[in-house]
Amino acid sequence: MLRIFIHRLLLGIATVAIVSGIIFAAVEALPGDACTAILQRDASGERLANCRRELGIDRPALTRYVEWASGAVRGDLGISAHNNKPIASLVGDRLKNTLLLAGCSLALGIPLALFLGVLTGLRRDKLSDLALSTIAIFAMTIPEFVTATVLIFVFGIWLGWVPGIVTASASSSLSAFFPGIVLPVIVLTMVMTAHIMRTVRSSVIDVMSSDYVQMATLKGVPYWQIVFRHALPNALLPAINVIALTVGWLLGGVVVVEKVFNYPGLGHYMIDSISDRDLPVVQAIALIVATAYVGVNLAADLLAMAFNPRLRTLKARSP
């Protein structure tokens, strides 16, 4: 078990290392650098060269990558080109806000998705299953900004129940986000619930048609005892990995949702930084998001292994 743990951990670290390389290379390929962003129109000749020397971006890319990566490991993400503040503190506030948004959506979405998944799985091809499964497809494929616009119109403008936009700023206290956070949470929850629910549904269907459930039925075990004692513990295992994938999706999905609702989170900040050409911030956010994604998936793999001994061999790949 320890060997597998270390193996998985190393694979995760390797993935993050490759991602950081891709991010660094992509940002490196962008036209303009930190100095053209700082100096703006004065960026030419002597001043540009001086600035580049000062910030050290006249040195070879590989040296800077090693420096950037080792700084990031120590928690030093560099300096924002836009306002010369340390990125770690700028990103910290927004990360907290995004975690609040994601946390609320997960707290609401995971139980709902498990419930609906089991319900539709057990009532396969009945009317309630067809209706819920169809709604789920629509919820996960219609763009977030469309859902958000419809919800803003219905609940924000027409009925006037909740504000259609978040007015809190990045450093506001958490209580300032209510009730504006309600609609963004609903949009994220809808998409997330749909993804998780579909996987749970198909895994419940698989397990319920397996030999051992049939055996239990033939033995005369009561239906609900079969469902709760025999089927669900096995059927809910794949949910762990899908929840992890969904958390990864959430980190990207929040970009559009945060922009639509003017929510001061990490995704909104990233779009602003791209417009401002604040490249160190773009790098930092991309690295944080990718590391979080890999970390969540690693945790899910280990959790799945803990519950399912069959996965505890080096050869087994996570589903």
Partner: protein, 297 residues
């Protein structure tokens, strides 16, 4: 990752099989409605300039944000442009870009995936790490980085979408291939001494094609989501070209006083995406493929 196609075809797809698959898709209500919506949208995208009632960029200062009436059936927007015209033409860019990018994505991802599933070994290990690394970046970040580097426009968006959306296809094709490679008829071909390329062409394509077709339909829908979201954020189609994402973004500022400019593009975009997904669902059922596993986009 996948259970692969449940039904195996011994030979490559023949015309008769294609016809029977289409018939089976159409025989399901979801497939019939879905295919109808998709075909209607494609025809509209092709021919809308011919019968659009107004010029899509003609502004009318006397009819700004006017509600639906006899002249402007769906009203006008904040510049006095006809919403019906802009809605029926608003999908042209999105459909053009995604309809070219989808086959490209499925083709390169599918070929590489089949090759890796067949070859395995060190190359497979390394490339799958890279694939994982790419999938660890949210789609929007990847797209935005490319757009900032190379600018927007059709000539950038098509290769970018085709590249990024081909990466998950590698995994699907690789898994489907690995599933089939272990079966007897491929072993037999190997034992007969066929080359790798010949095995790919003769034994695998027909069987992996089913999985790829369903995957392609899904990719199309994800690409539309990405393209319209980028337009909505202001990184896609540039005005005054009519585009659903852009129209919805514009309409939000006036929603409290004039909500109608948002309705038509919302319904148009949703109906196309719903149509594609209903078709994909019916196709998956007709081919016997479990599509619940495709989650990441």
């Amino acid at each position: 990752m996948s259970d692969g196609p449940a039904t195996l075809v011994a030979t490559t797809a023949r015309p008769s099989r294609i016809v029977s698959v289409i018939c089976e898709v159409l025989s399901r209500p979801s497939g019939f409605i879905g295919l109808f919506l998709v075909i209607a949208h494609v025809l509209l995208a092709l021919f809308s300039p011919i019968f659009a009632p107004f010029d899509f960029k003609a502004m009318n200062a006397n009819a700004i944000l006017s509600p639906p009436d006899a002249t402007h059936w769906l009203g006008t927007d904040q510049l006095g442009r006809d919403i019906l015209t802009r809605t029926i033409m608003g999908g042209r860019q999105a459909i053009l870009v995604t309809a070219i990018a989808t086959p490209l994505a499925v083709a390169w991802g599918g070929l590489l995936g089949i090759y890796l599933g067949l070859a395995g070994g060190r190359l497979d290990d390394i490339l799958m790490r890279v694939v994982d690394a790419f999938l660890a970046l949210p789609w929007i970040l990847k797209m935005l980085l490319m757009i900032v580097t190379f600018g927007t426009g059709v000539s950038v968006l098509i290769p970018t979408l085709a590249f990024f959306y081909g990466i998950p296809v590698i995994r699907i094709a690789r898994a489907a291939t690995q599933n089939i490679v272990a079966r007897d008829f491929v072993l037999a071909a190997r034992a007969r001494g066929h080359s790798r390329v010949s095995i790919m062409r003769k034994e695998l394509f027909g069987n992996v094609l089913d999985a790829l077709m369903v995957e392609g339909a899904m990719r199309w829908s994800w690409m539309l989501l990405a393209f319209t979201s980028l337009s909505f954020l202001g990184f896609g189609v540039s005005p005054p070209t009519p585009d659903w994402g852009l129209m919805i973004a514009d309409s939000r500022n006036f929603m409290a006083i004039a909500p109608w400019p948002a309705f038509a593009p919302v319904i148009a975009l949703s109906s196309l995406i719903i149509g594609i997904n209903l078709t994909a669902d019916a196709l998956a059922k007709a081919l016997g493929i479990d599509r619940a596993q495709a989650a990441v986009h």
